[in-house]
Symmetry: C2
């Protein structure tokens, strides 16, 4: 094989911290890669490009400390990644389709990504003596019966329904991660991510913020599932990335999950009002049936993140939606005019 | 490759139903294999012999319609099994260490057995157009907050604790199984098995019935975890096997799990009293701390099994314990005398 970078003339710029970011071409992953590069670290991004946007990747690929490898984490780790183990200091698992229509398209793959994929990355972290962070999800709480959700709530998840491939996959991934931690095989961190929004979202992945903004900008009918009284709490992506980095950096035993999200709760109808006001759309609102097992309420209790990391979200909904609308407006410019795309 | 049996002189005795029984050398699996053979079917037993008793297997191996293949279902299916697909009519997944001390020994393996192993068997069933049955567990209810537990109860499971590799592994296995069913990839059946006891249990796997009987028979101290007021409901193994076979045979869409167990609930102290009376032991009782996440109460609501399968347990605790004690007494004869084994 060829000599690695560190032996060549570029050795002097080889940074100390090499991060493996699985799912680094995705929505949150791409922001994380950017933030790690911005603080002087190196990033090896693994992504199967299943649900990632190529433009997220293009914005990173020119960077001298960024490298991309197309890889599905459910498959055995490529030898070239294993050879980098001595240099890897951090392994971040942000890989998995996260919106219900996408993760339900191939539920077997979703489950294996969460379980086998997480295990493959944990083994890499173990071999590299690197710290590992799993991005778990508020979906581990299912349709919660207590409110807001603190980390010790065990959840109300259907393990037989169409969302189970994701929800139970993430719960299994947490179980695996804490088992590695308990056995001293790796230092572990588990973040439970609540609804997040911002630039680099996929316009068509079916999440409520991107759905409503894109429908408004395209002048299409705006879809509300159910009567819109269900609540969500939306965290702007820069806040989320700051929380993930703080959690990875924090010195503690790591043996408890940490909620990350914005506790500002609103109904879907309120969000709709904001989007309508911001975009000035006159689009009609249509109601569709609530999906199976759709949670009625979601709000994180973030006291643990506050106490442990000194972290709290900073970006207001007004600021965040404004930036997100502006970004989507640019993204959609290249699209055919409303009505043509159908 | 060589011609298969059905082309040879033994073709006339080739039975119609070929069952793949994963975990067939285990406690319940060995009884299931015997029952299938007894009704004239063929059995291919896959087992890694991780927690199975070789003597369970020896009792089956002489049978002309029984075949054993040592195989870990978490590994890719052997080609010789795949070649049998056209003859396979039923795939039973009873493979996984089931007692807490054993499944916690290698939690990664436990999780992968449940997820990857179940998926491998589901793929086999899909290829074979065979019906698939997963033995799930009452552990999917965790430490239940409603009582008794019906199938629509979503459970109270910790996905971060030391039991999660099993509990969440089984929940993930259910999710996978129902996804195959929903997509029409296989006909599926999911049984949630509650505590079961009887001959062929491992004397040393740490389950309460075998623990107490063997301690009594050996004249050792008898261990009760906690104060013994926690409840369990014990099903005799012949009832369990009858339930599993009825579920596999039942004609319905299979898209709901079915509890199998005995609803006769008792405290661990009551069980202890029965065992003491039956064995006449004068052994001292010692109390040890309750394990983490140990469920306080467990009792199946078996109305679904009754309505769907016309099934209910028939063997009383007195009969079942009597048979089990007699079997253990014979098993332990070969052991060194009490006190010597330490």
């Amino acid at each position: 094989m060829k000599k690695t970078d560190r032996d060549g003339p570029r050795a002097t710029v080889q940074p100390l911290a090499l991060n493996v970011v699985a799912g680094g071409a995705g929505f949150i992953g791409s922001h994380l890669c950017r933030a790690l590069l911005d603080r002087g670290e190196s990033v090896l991004c693994l992504d199967n490009l299943q649900t990632s946007r190529p433009s997220n990747l293009r914005a990173l690929e020119g960077h001298p400390r960024f490298r991309f490898l197309r890889h599905d984490i459910g498959q055995p780790m490529p030898a070239e990644v294993l050879r980098m183990a001595p240099r890897i200091t951090r392994v971040w698992n942000l890989a998995c389709a996260a919106s219900p229509p996408l993760y339900q398209r191939d539920p077997e793959h979703t489950m294996l990504t969460n379980v086998v994929g997480t295990n493959n990355l944990l083994r890499l972290a173990e071999a590299a003596k690197a710290r590992f962070l799993l991005t778990s999800t508020s979906e581990v709480y299912g349709d919660p019966e207590i409110h807001p959700q603190a980390e010790d709530y065990r959840g109300n998840v259907s393990c037989t329904g169409p969302r189970a491939c994701y929800d139970e996959g993430k719960r299994a991934a947490e179980a695996l991660t804490f088992d590695y931690g308990r056995a001293g095989r790796a230092q572990v961190r588990v973040a439970r991510i609540f609804n997040t929004y911002g630039p680099n979202m996929d316009p068509d992945d079916g999440r409520v913020v991107s759905n409503l903004i894109c429908q408004a900008l395209r002048g299409n009918e705006m879809t509300v599932y159910g009567d819109g009284s269900q609540t969500r709490s939306f965290c702007y992506v820069s806040d989320m990335v700051a929380g993930l980095m703080a959690l990875m950096d924090a010195e503690f035993d790591g043996m408890e999950p940490v909620n990350l999200g914005n506790p500002h709760e609103m109904t879907v109808n309120e969000l709709l009002g904001h989007v309508v006001a911001l975009t000035g759309t006159r689009a009609r609102v249509v109601h569709r049936p609530l999906p199976v097992d759709d949670p009625r309420r979601r709000r994180p209790d973030i006291s643990r993140a506050g106490a442990l990391l000194g972290w709290a979200p900073r970006v207001s909904l007004a600021e965040g939606l404004d930036a997100t609308c502006a970004w989507f407006a640019e993204e959609l410019v290249a699209e055919p005019a409303a009505g043509v795309a159908g």
